[in-house]
């Protein structure tokens, strides 16, 4: 049978995957642990985009995919979606966040204080090349402040609301079990508030940045001021079957609140995600800020930015163009050739 090549195709894909994995060698628990402890911000980014909080699984996904972020996020999402929903945790108010870092660009000082926390913001970005020459880089020890910052702080917007500078959105009283879940139902427009915030929370960092940056540069209607940026830990409060409420642990979260002057009041844009990811939160909050009243089809309109910052969908579609498309191509060729032959029979009159 000269024609049958089925086994060939199967062998080819198997060997291609082996070739990819051969470069990375054996994956061990030690390697996964090393990734987890050496790259917490990468882990955070992956957990946020996967909308799955598990540092071990995120590190494993990175190890398994050789650090291809889109692949790592896809592996985690595909795992996540098959897991049973045991419970929805209790809502967390801003004041309840165990806060590590919290800054506001809107005021010199804020109630609760500016807390720099861990950041590279003011570091000089110089490569520690000595490490490659055998001199390890040992970070200097942190000298704790004599007066520690309070772990729990009110939101800046709360102060602004008290001073009639901003109208806070009405408290959403939806029972946690009834909050719409974008991973279990389709996203339709105009989108539900919960769907918008969930989609931004799991959006691709680069995608949110690209569109958010466009809005910041001037393709949006509102210029953001960072009202409050917070890196914190949130208590995951769940209910035991016997009715008692208990903490299942803490998860790292980040949130950004940006404001813009609109008439006599400030307008709010908000975003939060799992893990510590400041660029994504500021970008996504800027998109949220610009979203209201944005023309259909513009980069700051929700349908546009929610579809196009979905990393699993956008990356998947991008790489699908590698698949053979010769049937569609053949169909187009046929139409082109026919149109061309018609033209040569009936040339257009000279003008």
């Amino acid at each position: 049978m000269a024609y049958v090549a089925t086994r060939g195709g199967e062998r080819a894909i198997e060997q291609a995957e082996r070739l990819f994995r051969a470069d990375m060698g054996k994956i061990t628990a030690e390697r996964v642990n090393e990734i987890k402890s050496a790259m917490p911000y990468l882990i955070d980014r992956v957990m946020g985009e996967a909308s799955l909080y598990d540092e071990d699984l995120a590190a494993l996904a990175l190890a398994q995919t050789g650090g291809d972020l889109y692949e790592a996020v896809l592996v985690l999402r595909a795992w996540r979606t098959t897991q049973p929903r045991l419970q929805v945790a209790a809502p967390v108010a801003q004041d309840d966040l165990f806060t590590h870092r919290r800054i506001s660009a809107a005021f010199k000082d804020i109630p609760g204080g500016q807390v720099l926390g861990p950041t590279l913001d003011y570091s000089h970005r110089i490569l520690a090349t000595d490490v490659l020459n055998g001199t390890p880089f040992t970070p200097a020890a942190v000298e704790p402040s004599s007066k520690p910052a309070p772990a729990y702080q009110p939101s800046v917007a709360a102060w602004q609301a008290e001073n009639d500078l901003v109208d806070l959105p009405k408290l959403d009283e939806t029972h946690p079990d009834d909050i719409p879940d974008v991973t279990r139902e389709p996203l339709l427009f105009p989108s539900k508030r919960a769907h918008t915030l969930q989609s931004l929370a799991r959006s691709d960092t680069g995608g949110a940045l690209a569109l958010g940056y466009a809005a910041m540069r001037g393709y949006g209607q509102a210029h953001p001021t960072v009202n409050e940026l917070r890196l914190a830990e949130a208590e995951v409060m769940v209910k035991h079957p016997n009715g008692t409420s208990f903490s299942a642990g803490r998860v790292k979260v980040s949130q950004a609140e940006v404001v813009s002057k609109k008439g006599e009041k400030l307008e709010l844009g908000f975003s939060a995600t799992l893990g510590w990811n400041e660029v994504k939160c500021i970008s996504a909050a800027t998109l949220d800020l610009n979203s209201k009243g944005a023309p259909k089809g513009s980069a700051t309109e929700e349908e546009f930015y929610l579809y196009h910052t979905e990393g699993v969908e956008s990356s998947g579609f991008c790489i699908h163009f590698k698949l053979p498309h010769y049937v569609t191509f053949q169909s187009s060729l046929d139409a082109m050739r026919d149109a061309k032959s018609k033209k040569s029979i009936h040339p257009e009159p000279a003008e």
Binding site: M1, A2, Y3, V4, A5, T6, G8, G9, E10, A12, I13, L74, V75, R77, A78, R80, T81, T82, P84, T183, R184, E185, P186, L187, L188, F189, P190, K296, G297, E303, F304, Y307, V312, E313, S315, G316, F317, C318, I319, H320, L323, P324, H325, Y326, V327, T328, F329, Q330, S331, S332, L333, D334, A335, M336, D338, A339, K342, K343, H346
Partner: protein, 303 residues
């Protein structure tokens, strides 16, 4: 009675990969899609262990329909041996234990990317087409929310205008694959990027076709014996690709959709796109006992 007699042991993966709630949603959306032929039904579209755009919509439908007795065939661009078809077939078999086949006639469930087999499908077969873009209005209206409203209003004026403009500019409708078609006289759908050659196979067909777009989270259906009419003007008839006279250089099969293979000397040869039909033709010529099913096209003409 004990708890263990009422529950199943823990397993690392659900049967057919998707969990029961995901399958339930897809079953409901498929029923709706069958009830309103050609109308796009939004669904949650779970992630599956394959990249979006690689058949995840078709895969979710197949995973929902499959059981250990379903014989599965998977094709990509007409070929069973295409690498992505091999990958999907292997995955379906791995998570469902279903037997697989290359023979269209033996299959209960056929998942396909961009082709409908040349042999007629029967009432007991289901065709699942992978769909990259479920929205036929996309070229004239990129916003899905507005397009959805246009479908509700049967507002297809811009669609017709686009076809008319192509005729004025190029002397013919320039749409290659994914030819927009009116289903059951009501909804315009994309038949997925199947060639124009394949669209008439959907019209009043005996089999059920489910078209599913995983990335775009929409599925639609063509139930058995449903009208599927390509959008054409009365005086400009629908034209399939001019493949009726082409002969497959490897199998000798004639009058089917072909792949063009460019040659070093500047010419082209042709190979039948439906690879298994080609294989069967060759085996028959070699004297093997082969059952070639009835085909939609006979001598290059739709019968």
């Amino acid at each position: 009675m004990s708890l263990s007699s009422l529950t199943k042991d823990w397993e690392p993966m659900s049967y057919g990969f998707l969990d029961a709630s995901a399958k339930r949603e897809i079953r409901r959306k498929m029923l709706k899609a069958v009830a309103v032929p050609g109308c796009q039904m939004p669904y949650a579209s779970r992630e599956v262990p394959m990249a979006r755009g690689w058949g995840t919509g078709g895969l979710q439908v197949s995973l929902t329909l499959v059981n250990p007795k379903t014989t599965v065939k998977v094709i990509d661009q007409g070929a069973d041996d295409s690498v992505n078809a091999a990958s999907i077939r292997r995955f379906l078999a791995r998570v469902s234990g279903a037997p697989t086949t290359l023979d269209t006639l033996e299959a209960d469930l056929i998942q396909s990317r961009h082709r409908i087999p040349e042999e007629k499908l029967r009432a007991d077969q289901v065709l699942v087409l992978q769909v990259p873009n479920p929205e036929p209005l996309r070229p004239v209206q990129p916003n899905m929310s507005i397009a959805r409203q246009m479908h509700a209003d049967a507002d297809y004026g811009r669609m017709w205008l686009q076809l008319y403009e192509q005729i004025v500019r190029s002397g013919r409708v320039m749409q290659g694959a994914s030819y927009p078609s009116l289903v059951n006289g009501r909804h315009v759908m994309t038949p997925s990027p199947i060639p124009r050659w394949d669209v008439p196979k959907l019209h009043m067909a005996e089999h059920l076709t489910i078209l599913s777009a995983g990335r775009e989270k929409r599925l639609h259906a063509v139930p058995p014996f449903t009208r599927v009419e390509p959008l054409v003007f009365d005086d400009v008839p629908y034209k399939v690709e001019e493949h009726g006279e082409l002969i497959c250089g490897r199998s000798g099969a004639k009058g089917f959709f072909m792949n063009e293979i460019p040659q070093d000397d500047g010419t082209s040869t042709y190979e039948i796109s439906d690879s298994d039909y080609g294989v069967k033709t060759i085996r028959q010529a070699e004297g093997a006992q082969v059952h070639l099913g009835e085909t939609w096209y006979k001598n290059g003409e739709l019968s």
